[in-house]
Amino acid sequence: MSSVATVHSLWMTAADAPGRIPGPHIEYAQLSPTLIVLGAAVLGILVEAFLPRRSRYHTQLLLSVVALAAAFAAVIGLAAGGFGTSKAHVAAMGAIAVDGPALFLQGTILLVSLVAVFTFAERRLDPASHGKRVDSFAAQAAAVPGGKAEQEAVKAGFTTTEVFPIVLFAVGGMLVFPAANDLLTLFIALEVFSLPLYILCTLARRQRLLSQEAALKYFLLGAFSSAFLLFGIALLYGYAGTVTYAGIAEVVADGAKQIDPALAGTMGNDALLLIGAALVLMGLLFKVGAVPFHMWTPDVYQGAPTPVTGFMAAATKVAAFGALLRLLYVVLPGLRWDWRPVMWGVAIITMLAGAIVAITQTDIKRLLAYSSIAHAGFILAGVLATSEDGISSVLFYLAAYSFVTLGAFAVVTLVRDAGGEATHLSKWAGLGRRSPLVAAVFAVFLLAFAGIPLTSGFAGKFAVFKAAAQSGAGWLVVIGVLSSAIAAFFYIRVIVLMFFSEPKADGPTVAVPSPLTTTAIAIGVAVTVVLGVAPQYFLDLAGQASVFVR
């Protein structure tokens, strides 16, 4: 009897032990934007597997749009519930922050992606192939370019509807990236959105070799930068004994208190901190396309299918700057006397190099790529302000810039000749005479890039430079204004080219898009003008969202 009791009590003790291990506590509602998007992505894969080919396109499009819209509604709901301000906290056991900057950036990413999906789904620009409407993506990505399999796939009228779930996966990663609150989540989010982007880059229907080359370059350099990031994470772990942002920040501020015996030799070693922080920053600067980690940008922007370029240029930048902001403001504020001078240098050469090299470009996509580099420099100027104004100005700039970029690349998809998109600048000569409306819309985007008043670009630049100047970075602002002037030169040169030069006889035609691309461009113009004419509401919104949870 007693032995039975003993066994029973042993049994109970043994059973108790696992009972005391806390199950992971996940705030599903607060993570709902990400979960909705990733769930829809998984559903999209199932659609690819089980639905007949003819109904996939519409199903996928509907699924993506609904998922992104629902996720955006979830973000709005969270923000309205006060998670951006008073209830901001760290969710999912410290892995994800739910706070103002995260929600603002997630909202921006979701809206940008929603508009980008419209351009992905465009099927009226490319001439119909064997009686079937096709989009900008390869008929069958696995087929060798120019090979027999490709011809057969084209003849069969295949389309790559997989792009929709791939985009959703990328968006899911991007949503986590600026909200990541520990270094491992950061790394995983980076990979989750990078891998789909590599694939998307290879998928161009025309000039597939160029597209695959671009994707390979992006992949190799991206892999390098991931390796840097991961190595940096390892060193920071060695320094702090933890990968959580708050934990590292604490060690940076007050020194290591509880030395982990396994890390006794490394914890608190400043060399590890400095090298680790530098490597992590390098990984992030690669993603934002800052000089000297910008080499991939022009090639990838040029080679990738234009809708992908627009999506990548807009959404990736938002996500990457969000992660950079959080890293610098939450993890490394105690180190700012070390990183500020370096980042100053990066910002200055990014602005100048982007603006100066752009002058010599003859391809519109490469030109926009260098302009995006220059803009990365302008945004960095706001990041360096290390103040709440700095955060809010960067948030505003990212929202403004991403819609301009998306709209500009959407216009690029419209200008076509026999070889597909006519991206060489000489072909854009006199476009304003043939298609005044399209040229005028593109001119609005260029003016916004140049930062001319009454466009969102002006409000964004003003906010960023104001924050930088208030933090005492006067010289940075002077150089920023100078490079804006240089940049304005080549934007206005394109406008002059479109409106004031004679159209060529064999010039491109402007394709009439379906309502999808028209909507995308219209939203781009509307946001550009509204954020330019009446930016106060959005500045206030960004101002309210400018506190990081720690």
């Binding site: 001319i452 008043p453 009454l454 409000a459 003003f462 906010a463 430079f465 104001k466 100047a469 208030q470 602002v477 204004v481 002037a485 304005a488 206005i492 002059v496 004031f500 009446a534 930016p535 106060q536 500045l539 101002g543």
Partner: protein, 552 residues
């Protein structure tokens, strides 16, 4: 809250522009009448402004409106007028109906073409004119530097289309060549002014940065900045102030235009139709000289004094160079354009002489030059439309076949050469006196332009109107009723203001006094030495005692 009179004066032509543009292609005549009635309504509002304005009342600006716009950037929607602005708004609102009437048939589609839903030149022409009017009016009213900048730049767009899109069909080498020259002129106009505008934008932002640095919160408000300077809260520092001044002045000197930034004006005025040429020189360019008075001098008084010698020399060159080139022109419209450059030189001379006569005269000059150039240019346009040529050599003996046309042309010309009894005389005299009292040498040299003006006007008249009647002009009809309606009031006004300029001077002088008080300049005292020892020398010999005053 009182009725926003200033906003309304800008909104009415803007609404008119939209209404005109919205009319369908077949309603061409209706579009003209709609445009005309909106421009007349604007004129009525401008008169109300002039009546409600009390000259000499306290405070620099009246009828002010102020609303928050972009609080984060310190940008406000701030309007207000002083006497100078009232005079120029009245001038603008007065001239636009005449411009519309004079251009009644200028934008009619050619006979073989049919306007359609997308191509409606007549509606476009009048809508663009009203759009320019709205922007000009609001830039005269804006007291927020940023607000002013926006409309100062935005008016380039309708002007570009007006210059590039509509010609008078009187080119030397046929319509195709004329279209090329027109688009060249329009592009030149746009690029010159855009370059000026972008440099000014940098200075506008620099001004914000300076105020943000020293006042705590950045501001673009002119009254606030002037007040902060006067109270000693704002010290820009000589280097910063000079750079900012140059940024502003460059844009205004392109617009005005001042030698050597003037070269776009003859192209633009020569290639466009004469109502558009009037719009350029009599209305839009006035924003440049006006802004020198309102913004350059009041925001940067120290730098204005610093730059005065160079600006005076440039203005003097403009005066003489414009007049000399006008003498040598073969093309009637280009001749008037160079004459305008000479006159803008006078205006800038008067502004930067920094005397009350000089600046008062310069303001009067802006108004009078607007009226006299409008009269001369519009009559010249009527003349050119009859013969289909802009070349002086193609005319001769017109006064025998069209005496009224020739007579009005002569009066416009005499006003341009500042004949006493006509309005421009008063202003030119005041500018010269004002300049002479401080800079005698410059005053004396500038007077030479009066002789040159007589030369280019009278030779123009002699070659076109007198002499044997040329075969091509033998059938030339005289002025029609519509054309008389345009010209007669302008001439009446020239005569009236030439004899009795008091209403205008009363309006302008308090504002000029205020401007001068901001710069901290007083008129030089009459400095007369009577040499008692040598009885032979005449009294009244002014010495160069002013130079000491000028040097500070």
């Amino acid at each position: 809250m009182s009725f926003p009179l200033l906003t309304a004066t800008a909104v009415v032509p803007a609404v008119g522009a939209v209404a005109t543009a919205a009319l369908p292609a077949a309603k061409r005549t209706a579009a003209k009448w709609v445009a005309l009635s909106f421009s007349l309504a604007t004129f009525v509002l401008a008169l109300v402004i002039a009546i409600r304005f009390t000259p000499g009342a306290k405070g620099p600006f009246q009828l002010t409106e102020s609303h928050a716009w972009i609080a984060d950037f310190g940008v406000r929607y701030e309007l207000g007028v002083d006497g100078i602005a009232v005079a120029l708004i009245a001038l603008t609102a007065l001239l636009i109906p005449f411009v519309i009437l004079a251009g009644w048939h200028d934008a009619d589609p050619l006979e073989e073409t049919r306007p359609n839903r997308r191509w409606r030149p007549t509606q476009g022409f009048f809508a663009l004119i009203l759009a320019v009017e709205a922007m000009v009016v609001i830039s005269f009213e804006a007291t927020d530097v940023f607000l002013f900048y926006l409309f100062f730049e935005a008016m380039l767009i309708p002007m570009y289309f007006l210059i590039g899109g509509f010609g008078d069909g009187a080119g030397e080498h046929g319509e195709e060549q004329a279209a090329t020259q027109r688009s060249y002129a329009a592009v030149k106009f746009l690029l010159y002014n855009l370059a000026g505008g972008l440099i000014m934008l940098a200075a506008v932002i620099g001004l914000y940065a300076a105020t943000a640095d020293q006042l705590g919160a950045g501001t673009f408000s002119l009254p606030q900045i002037v007040e902060a300077r006067a109270a000693g809260h704002l010290h820009l520092g000589a280097g910063t102030e000079r750079l900012l001044f140059l940024g502003f002045f460059f844009a205004f000197a392109v617009k005005a235009p001042l030698w050597p930034l003037h070269t776009w004006l003859p192209n633009a005025m020569g290639e466009s139709t004469s109502p558009v040429a009037v719009l350029i020189t009599a209305v839009v360019d006035k924003v440049g000289t006006f802004a020198m008075l309102r913004f350059c001098i009041q925001l940067f008084p120290e730098a204005s004094k610093w730059a005065t010698p160079v600006i005076l020399i440039l203005a003097l060159i403009s005066v003489l160079y414009g007049a000399l080139l006008a003498v040598g022109q073969r093309d009637i419209k280009r001749l008037i354009a160079y004459a305008s450059i000479s006159h803008f030189g006078f205006i800038i001379l008067g502004i930067f002489a920094m005397t009350s006569q000089g600046q008062g005269g310069a303001t009067l000059y802006m108004v009078n030059h607007g009226i006299s150039t409008a009269a001369l240019m519009l009559v010249a346009g009527f003349l050119i439309s009859r013969r289909g040529s802009r070349l002086i050599a193609d005319y001769g003996g017109v006064q025998k076949v069209a005496p009224v046309l020739a007579g009005t042309f002569l009066i416009g010309g005499l006003a341009t050469l500042s004949l006493p009894g006509l309005a421009p005389f008063v202003s030119e005299f005041l500018v010269l006196v004002g300049t002479f009292s401080r800079y005698p040498v410059i005053g004396i040299i500038a007077s030479a332009a009066i002789v040159l003006a007589a030369l280019y006007v009278l030779v123009l008249y002699q070659r076109t109107m007198t002499g044997p009647v040329k075969a091509e002009v033998r059938k030339m009809p005289d002025l029609r009723v519509r054309e008389l309606v345009v010209v007669a009031p302008l001439i009446a006004l020239l005569l009236f203001l030439g004899v009795y300029p008091k209403p205008l001077t009363d309006l302008v002088n308090p504002a000029v006094e205020h401007t001068l008080s901001v710069v901290d300049k007083q008129d030089p005292k009459p400095d007369v030495h009577v040499d008692a020892t040598t009885g032979g020398s005449r009294p009244g010999h002014a010495t160069h005692g002013d130079d000491a005053e000028a040097a500070k």
